[in-house]
Amino acid sequence: MAIRWSRWSPQIALAPAVIVTAVAFIGSIGWTIYISFTGSRRFPDYAIDPERWSRQYERLAKDRAWGISLDNLIVFGIGSLLAIVFGFILAAMIEREKRGEDVFRTIFLYPLAISLIVTGIVWRWMFNPSLGVENFLHQLGWESASFDWLSSAETAMYGIILASLWQSSGFFMALMLSGLKSINSEIWSAARLDGVGVFRLYIEIIIPMMKFTFLTCAILLSLGVVKAYDIIVAMTNGGPGQSTWMPALFTINAYSAKSNIAYASAAAVMMLVITLAIFLPLLLLFIWQQKRRKAAVA
């Protein structure tokens, strides 16, 4: 009896997770994809009109707000790449100097513990046109200083990028730091003996050795960029106008403000497609690199 039970127990123990995955993830994704081909509005309507199955996607393609969302996704993605660069510079300096490592690490990483809503609210206050940092700069006598980024459609995205850099750079610093620490310390002395300059050492030896860490960072960054929502709600709520809309905000707005389930589903499917389009190539690159490294070791 005991043996039989223990043979079945693992399967029974796995049942909740399997059911949740099947229903909440696979089933739900399938449902959303299906609904995106229908004409559902407030309530799901499962009939697909064979001639107009793609109408939600056609509507998306014509929707100016969706176009803005995609443009902003690219701007935000490129801007957020700075977090990786900044994180690497911070990590390299901390690693090199070693003095004060714990203090600096603690300071650079604390924004990550804070809710993005709080981060957004705090930065919104700093960007306040009449009472914020801009006013302070004016009082210092720098009359032409402009730090009122959120109230103009041209600069609002940069304000959001700055706040999100503040929030996430520490995370990439932490990943880079553990990557740097796994590098054999003999490289440093070898490089010194060979008279290789510090800058060349980083560009030609250290960074190529940290390919994995950079790939991991890129994957995590891209996922975060596609998901960006809270910080926009807290800082601009999409405004001024629709200038800071992003796909996540668009999708939720299509559901909650427009009450259009099919349209929101189509936008959500596009988000999934974008995620996969960025994520899968990076993942394949990651696996390929891993295979190559394993082959090199063997």
Binding site: W5, I29, S178
Partner: protein, 296 residues
């Protein structure tokens, strides 16, 4: 974990060189960039509105006042309700506990079964979990709203808690599985020979070994649930809004002149619990956010 051992390697005393000074100066400037927002929020929350209207965002309060904090906690208006962020604080706590119990129990047992027991389809299942960990929430949002509505938990504390547990399941399971797979096979062999059943081995051998990973996952979950906004606003309904949602309503949709000092006090009140965890248990926090990421 390698970082922990590295810290204890004794290093030679270095002379302060010009390069060291340049690096330290740069790092200090960056540290200032990271600290300025926190400084600004703290001083603003202790100022009177009269002083704030002068527009000196970096100056210290002339008269320190706790009034904004009191108002933020118990009076500030969020929508039509004026009960401060305290309501959100207690709602967040109520969401936290069931959600933690659900997600930790299911994902640790699942991770244990996948790592140490012979399940033929474990590889396939782990790959599916891995993919699920990365899908954007929006793709499952609407069906989850309908599903939670059908089982009658939509708009309740349980609805928010269950959705948190569901969303965390893939990544937490993988973290647990990665931890348990390093348990030596001999221990498992001996335990099975000793007529240990699945659950007995879990209770008597695995759980006592898992204190470290449980703390890491616990902290990861506490901070991410506490800081969540989207799930709370989508599934909490009108009466179970977590603290971040109340905060956002208070600050963003306020009409008339904003009381910036109250806003900042409310923001700080929301940020204090995770910040406390971070400053007290930082090592575990860092392990948590990197564990799911790197090992994947």
């Amino acid at each position: 974990m390698s970082t922990m051992t590295d810290n204890f390697v004794p290093r030679r005393k270095k002379r302060i060189t010009g390069r060291s000074i340049a690096i330290l100066a740069f790092l200090a400037m960056c540290a200032a960039f990271f600290c300025i927002p926190l400084y600004v929020v703290i001083v603003t929350s202790f100022k009177t509105m009269d002083q704030i209207r002068l527009g000196e965002i970096f100056s210290l309060p002339v008269t320190w006042t706790l009034e904004p904090w009191r108002e933020a906690w118990s009076e500030a208006c969020s929508g039509i309700k004026c009960e401060g962020v305290s309501a959100g604080f207690f709602a967040s706590l109520k969401i936290l506990f069931p959600s933690l119990i659900l997600s930790l129990s299911v994902s640790s047992v699942t991770g244990y079964a996948l790592a140490l027991w012979n399940v033929r389809w474990a590889g396939t299942f782990m790959f599916i979990l891995f993919m699920c960990a990365f899908v954007p929430f929006q793709i499952i949002m609407i069906p989850m709203i309908i599903l939670t509505g059908k089982i009658g938990v939509y708009g309740t504390i349980w609805g928010v808690a269950v959705v948190h547990a569901v969303l965390a399941l893939p990544i937490l399971t993988l973290i647990f599985r990665n931890f348990y797979k390093d348990i030596p096979g001999e221990i498992m062999q001996a335990a099975i020979m000793d007529s240990g059943s699945f659950w007995r081995i879990y209770r008597e051998i695995i759980l006592p070994m898992s204190a470290n990973i449980f703390i890491v996952v616990l902290i990861l979950q506490i901070t991410s649930i506490w800081n969540d906004f989207l799930i709370g606003i989508t599934f909490g309904g009108l009466n179970n809004k977590p603290m971040t949602v109340i905060l956002a309503n208070t600050v963003i949709s306020a009409t008339g002149e904003s009381s910036y000092n109250v806003d900042m006090a409310a923001a700080l009140l929301t940020a204090i619990p995770p910040l406390l965890i971070y400053f007290v248990l930082g090592k575990f926090f860092v392990q948590g956010i990197t564990a799911g990421a790197i090992k994947g």
